[in-house]
């Protein structure tokens, strides 16, 4: 828009001013993701006026917001691991299956403990450590296939995605075993100072991983490998070790998420535990603005992406809409977000506008 046009039409210049402002603000990712979350929460509030209400019932805070945070916890963990994987230009399809495996391992071991086994590795504390170790091994497998056998990440993790549920069923012998142990259950349903325990876990992992990658060189090196792994190799970065690391971390996050899900229902369901959660995690990362092409990553925004998805689902839950519309709404929101992120689509949209303004002149 040229200067003469502005003078001729002050109304339009106001519009331009807003546009300029919008462009400068739009460079802030936090703003946009935050705005999306805000709008969704606002819609939720309109649907249900007492959406933000939080009550204390039996020493536990109760309310939609608490539910959103509680439900978000396992997805937030997956999204944290997935963010780093995607930052290296990779993808981890196996996290849902790894959740199922880890849930199966934890529950199977804890059942031995409940049955009176006294070996130290059946102690609840060790069971948790072993489960995390199993998640790390799953990640290690993925990482080795990708870094050293040079398989495409999507194929390498597809193998574990397919076989993983079979492995989980093998561990539980096809059953969905239940348990009563309080320690393991606490991970999924414990309450501390009125707040569900999974929220603490997700928060602590988020802070820990953020510190791990931002207070060490890891974050920089991960981004470097994701943007240009050849140039990184020339600069002496061990790209392979970085890749193995992010998949191991993703496996560990999946293991913790698996224990949360198992603890919540005091059972391990090898079919349903973590089903489709890899897709939700990838989605949250993409909504949070980390590109599937690798490079810059945003851990907090990925977690915010999870909150966006969960707030949307919570809103649908309290609305009069039938809960069956969940997936449809999700698909529509995903498409909207993806299209808005696509430069080709923005060009496509701006073309008719361009024509319109010319005609008006």
């Amino acid at each position: 828009m040229n200067v003469e046009g502005q003078q001729a039409n002050p109304a339009k210049s106001g519009l331009e001013g807003i546009k300029t402002l919008a462009i400068s603000v739009s460079s802030s990712r936090l703003f946009w993701t935050g705005l999306a979350l805000f709008i969704i929460l606002l819609v939720d509030l309109m649907i249900s006026p007492n959406f933000f209400e939080i009550r204390l019932v039996n020493d536990r805070l109760v309310g939609s917001i608490v539910n959103i945070l509680d439900n978000s916890a396992p997805y937030a963990l997956l999204a944290i691991g997935m963010t780093l994987v995607i930052a290296t230009k990779g993808i981890d399809l196996s996290v849902g299956a790894v959740m199922a495996i880890c849930a199966a391992v934890a529950v199977t071991l804890i059942k031995q403990y409940e049955a009176g086994a006294t070996e130290f590795y059946y102690q609840p504390g060790f069971v948790i450590l072993i489960t995390i170790g199993v998640g790390a091994i799953c990640g290690l497998w993925n990482g080795i296939l990708i870094a050293f056998l040079n398989l495409q990440p999507i194929i390498a993790t597809l193998i574990l995605m397919v076989a993983g549920r079979g492995v989980a069923q093998l561990i539980t012998n096809g059953q969905s075993p239940t348990f009563t142990n309080d320690t393991l259950a606490f991970i999924g349903r414990g309450v501390v100072w009125g707040v569900p325990f999974p929220i603490y876990i997700a928060f602590v992992v988020l802070i820990f991983v953020t510190l791990l990658v931002r207070r060490t060189a890891l974050g920089l090196l991960i981004e470097s490998v994701g943007v240009n792994d050849r140039a990184s190799y020339y600069a002496g970065i061990q790209a392979n070790a970085i890749k193995v690391f992010v998949y191991v971390l993703s496996g560990v996050c999946a293991a913790i998420a698996g224990m949360i899900v198992a603890g919540e229902v005091k059972s391990a369901d090898p079919h349903k535990a973590g089903l489709f959660s890899e897709l939700d995690a990838i989605l949250a990362v993409v909504i949070g603005g980390t590109s599937l092409l690798g490079g810059r990553f945003y851990l907090f925004l990925s977690v915010m992406g999870v909150l966006i998805i969960q707030s949307m689902l919570a809103g649908l839950y309290v609305s009069t809409l039938h809960p069956t519309t969940n997936l449809v709404v999700k698909a529509v929101v995903v498409l909207a977000v993806l299209l808005l992120q696509s430069p080709e689509f923005r060009r496509f949209i701006s073309q008719p506008f361009g024509k319109l303004s010319r005609r008006r002149r």
Partner: protein
Amino acid sequence: MKSRFIPLLMTFIVFAAMYLFAYSRFSSFGSMRIVGNLLRDNAYWGIAAIGMTFVIISGGIDLSVGSVIAFTGVFCALMIGRNGWEPIPTFIVMLTIGTIFGATMGMLIHYFKIPPFIATLSGLFLARGMAYVLSTDSIRIDHPFYESVSKIVYIFPDKGRFTFAAGAFLIVLFIGIFVAHFTRFGRNVYAVGGNSDAALLLGVPIGRTTVMIYALSSFLATLAGIILSLSKQSGDSTIAVGLELDVIAAVVIGGTLLTGGVGYIIGTFIAVMTLGTIQTYLTLDGSLTPWWIKIVIGVLLFSFVGLQKLLSSRRGLRLFNFGREHNEVQQSA
């Protein structure tokens, strides 16, 4: 033997080995009864796998097939079972919806450069969600047409049954092979997957081909849903969850490279029959638990991807060198 046939040969050897092993344990594998059942039971997802083969040869992926199958089943059941539509018009409407659905995904992928993985993931959510919206219950279909279709069957002397579904599967297979190898569209699919930049320079209409590939995949998934609807005589929005994984696995085990450009429809067919054989074997042999099928698929997947890596490593090296020289050319600008 040309090197490009080696993966196909491996697929066949694995199938033959599995089948012979199964035969050695259960002599019924020698009868037409098992063969007929294999074709019938695996027809619906085999048809979807043929569509997926085109997608993967072109270098893409389609995660939506399982959901499309479920949506088709529910749509047909609702329209025929509840609303009293005639089956044939319902199928035509459904196939049109499915094709448009796929074409839309293809357009998102080509024109808006949304990665196939993500575009078809939203397709997965949408189709499954629409299925839930239509109905969350299983709906029975009682219609004379369904009855008569179930009576279309050729019975072998040993009482093996060659059903309508099996016939449809084989027809789609032959048409798939024909389209892949003897039409310009089919060859363009291979060209796009082999090197899409070069294909563009060689005059391949990339956009149209991409849209058609995803339309074809959804069309076949819809057809698969119809076949399943006919054999189950019901529609259920929770069926075929995660089926896309088995389909993708079958395509890879069938010798199609996930990197695109190389693959055979017949290989996919053999792989579908291989997985079907394993499934049947595990069912007959009670001692092996059914979840082994997933682990076996995983192991097969790993072996085939490993084999492909091995076969392509020399070629991969050369491609890498191409890349380097390509850079030099650009530099001399």
